[in-house]
Amino acid sequence: MQPFTRHTGIAVPLIKDDINTDQIAPVQSMRQLKPDYRALLFTRARRRDDGSEDPDFVLNKPQFKEPGILVTGHNFGAGSSREAAVWGMLANNIRVIVARSFADIYRENCLQNGLLPIVLAMPEAAAFEQRVVAVNGAAPFTVDLESQRITGPAGTDIAFDLPAADRMRLLEGLDDIGLTLKHADEIVNWERRIAADQPWLQTAADSRS
């Protein structure tokens, strides 16, 4: 996984609650094993009924065409567990999402891909949203995970908090499987113990064959 230390980019305000993964990455846009992840991000919201680009959708506005940070509301990423909803962000160089809150599975998918999910507490969250709206893409913000600060135009630095464990994983770009396999012996021991105590858990054989 690509480590995350700091990221500078245009902050895009998409201030809405409950944006779900069907909106972020519709299943109809995943018709190939390897779709164009850059194009599938919010693909429905990007287009009008006649197929032309909707100039009112925030990511279509000239100042947000090269986004870096997404700023949004509560429960971001609800719904399906599809990871394309994170891959679409990365394909658009969005490596930070600042939300009021995240859906659990979506947040996990972010951490697996080096996408930094930041939750700001009130009143900082509302203040930051207003600031991003006011800045309107005129200048980029920088998110630094080492110092856990957001810096940018039109205001003072904003501190954010990430659980130490998640922070370490992102900063070091740790290989998640590698981290777990350091416990390979314990996995084997667990399997041995359970095979004795609850043997039905360690076998899933078809009794008909």
Binding site: N20, D22, A78, V86, K182, H183, I187, I194, A204, D206
Partner: protein, 469 residues
Amino acid sequence: MPTTLFDKIWDAHLVARRADGRDLVYIDRHVLHELHAPHAFEQLEKQNRPVRRPDLTFSMQDHTVATKPGRDDGTNPSGTAFLKAMREGSRRNGIRLFDIDDPEQGISHVVAPELGMVLPGATHAVPDSHASTVGGLGALAFGCGTTELAHILATQVMALRRPKRMLIRLEGRLGPYVTAKDVALRIIAELGVAGARGHVVEYAGDAVRAMPIESRMTLCNLNIEMGGRSGFVAPDDSTLSWIAGRPFAPQGPMWDRALAHWRMLKSDDGAVFDREHVLDCSGLEPQITWGTDPSQVLGISGRVPDPSAVDPSRRAATESALAYMGLAPGTTLAGLPVDRVFIGSCTNSRLPDLQAAADVVRGRQVAAGVLAMVVPGSTSVKRAAEAAGLDRVFRDAGFFWGESGCSMCAGGNGDRGEPGERCVSTTNRNFEHRQGAKVRTHLVSPATAAASALAGHIADVRHVMPRPA
């Protein structure tokens, strides 16, 4: 100290604590599907990592399969590559695949329980948000993304932060034609779409105990629609007799040992939950969603809200939902014309679901102009339904009777509605465009869906049917 069943299962599966503070939780059964597994197989192969326990892993073809009779890989052209990649990946990794033409093919959340792959007190993972469907049998199930899926394949554990505990007690008795689906929708309406975020929910109470296993699965299936990390019902005698004799369940002396263990699986008296919620189900009427998220729910006789009368924080969302759904404030849903009816999905496609719908349909006709379809949750369900003559009931009434799969729930197989259509559906998400561009989805129970198909408009099944004796 009194302990919750969730904590007991978690602790029994705790392998180690990782350096980053996450718990490594062993996954007893891992069920994959073709929309996401091919990418995980590729990730692992790039890393030269083998699948650790192919014998505890199963592959299903469900999301992209066509439902048309006589289907094959090419019937849904956009699914072909997924089906092939799943087939090849499963073969390379020694994982048993329930392929498109397997007599036991179907939706992962339907097939795994019916074949006995899901056991009480076991952990279960699926790269799908509706994984906790199998919580109906007392299993602790987690949905996950693709990279986590690869992690489980390589290690057989998940690296998780311990969730909080929530108890939802369902009291009272359900009235006629009021089902687990209606109860689940009411819970989501009360708690909101993020109401259970970060929590594992244990469903308890008299109304749950009275539910057949398939209904408990419907209840647990919808747990994710309020953001729950997982949801389950502690096993009881109905659970154990439901599992007995299923092919992948333990047999003989091992069954007896397992049974003794499963009988102990419950939360201790006095165990503390982080949150508790009680719903009295007596007097609940059939429920239906009116908006574009599963918490926007009404009783079937209710009127959609007036944005000017709702909490200001909900006003914009209410306005936008009404606009998408083509509804004026204050409209009564019952009576609204319906274009399409879908009965199926991991929420409501098991045999009792189809029976409940068939009981309403029997001897009647789908209203002119309504496209109605039934898609069984598995090929086994389909066979059992046909043996009971349900397919005739549906087909004689004018329903399409399809091959098993996820179908119109997410439309990954090409089954979807046309723009502007109003679709009454037994699925789990009424999100905008989910069942097709601009399709207006109302989530309901199978009985309400059937009644609406016959009436040609959203209907209260209790008015269509005589009161049971």
